[in-house]
Symmetry: C2
Subunit: 162 residues, 2 copies
C-alpha cells in the first residue's frame, strides 16, 4: 500500500499555516522556503489543498495562503482526501465474474465479500484519520519539538510575517 | 492511497484453495482457469503467497498449490503483507530536517509527529485486517453467494479434483 508524497507535504504545510497569527497569510514562496524546496514543487500540493477547501489563497501584495477554518476543524482525513482523492485503496475488478463459475452481470447484486472485508479495514483507517486534527499535530509538535528548532522557526516566522 | 491488484488476486486464490478437501491441491493452471486468466498472469502472485508462507506448492504429477495452514489461521493482513510487503504506506522523508528551522540530523531523536499520526491510522487498518481471516471470507461467501454460481463452482471443483 502506498500513499503519495503529496500527503506528507500537505500535512507539513497545514501545520505551518496553523502556526500563523489570526488573519496572517504566508505566500507560497515563503512556505516553500520554510520547507527548503522550490516553490514550483509545492504549488500543486497547495492547489490540491485549496481545491479541497482546507487552505485559501488571499490575493494582493500582502496576500498568501492561510487555513480556511480552525486547525481543530481540519481532520487528517480532510488533508489526505484533498491530496489523494477519495477512491478506495482496494479496487475490486470483479474477479468473481470470470471463469467457469461466472454468471451474467445482473446476477451480482451484493458486493464481493473480499471487497467488503478490505473496505471495512480501510474504514478503520479513515475513522482514525477522522479522529485526528491538524490541531492535534500542533499539540504533539509542541510536546516534542527540539527547543533549538522552535527558536529558529520562531525567528523565521517573526521575520516573514512582520 | 493505492493497493496493488495482486492483493485482490491473492485473496481470491486463498479463498478458492480454502475450499479444497484436506490434502487436495490445485495446479496453478487450474487456479488460473477458475479465475479466467492466463496461468502466467497468476504466477507471480502465487509465488508471493508461497514466499509469505501462506500457500505451498506440492510437486509431482498430482501436485499443485494448497494453503500452508488452516484458513482460520491466515489473516487478511498475512495475505496483504505477502503480496505488498510490510513497508508503511506513509513514508516519512524527514521534511522537518529541511529549511531555516532545521538542525543537525543527530538532534532528531523522536519520530516526526506527522509520521506518528499517520502510522497510528495505518495500525488501525492493520489491526482490522489482522482480525479477519480467510475463513471469515468463506463464511461471508457462503452467506451471499448466488446459488447458481455455487452449483457451477462445485461442478468445476468435482471435475478437477477427482
Amino acid at each position: 500500500m502506498k500513499l503519495g508524497e503529496g500527503v506528507e507535504w500537505g500535512m507539513h504545510c497545514c501545520t505551518v499555516l496553523a502556526l500563523l497569527p489570526t488573519d496572517a497569510t504566508l505566500p507560497a514562496a515563503r512556505l516553500a522556503e520554510f520547507h527548503g524546496v522550490p516553490a514550483a514543487y509545492l504549488a500543486k500540493h497547495l492547489q490540491a489543498l485549496a481545491r479541497g477547501g482546507i487552505v485559501e489563497s488571499v490575493p494582493g501584495p500582502r496576500g498568501g495562503y492561510r487555513l480556511s477554518r480552525p486547525a481543530t476543524a481540519i481532520t487528517l482525513l480532510d488533508v489526505v482526501e484533498a491530496v489523494e482523492g477519495t477512491a478506495p485503496a482496494f479496487r475490486c475488478t470483479e474477479i468473481r465474474q470470470r471463469g467457469p463459475a461466472s454468471l451474467p452481470v445482473r446476477e451480482y447484486r451484493v458486493a464481493c465479500s473480499i471487497t467488503r472485508a478490505m473496505h471495512r479495514a480501510e474504514e478503520a483507517w479513515r475513522a482514525d484519520l477522522r479522529s485526528q486534527t491538524v490541531a492535534d499535530l500542533l499539540v504533539a509538535l509542541a510536546q516534542d519539538v527540539n527547543p533549538r528548532a522552535a527558536v529558529k522557526a520562531a525567528a523565521w516566522f517573526q521575520e516573514v510575517i512582520s
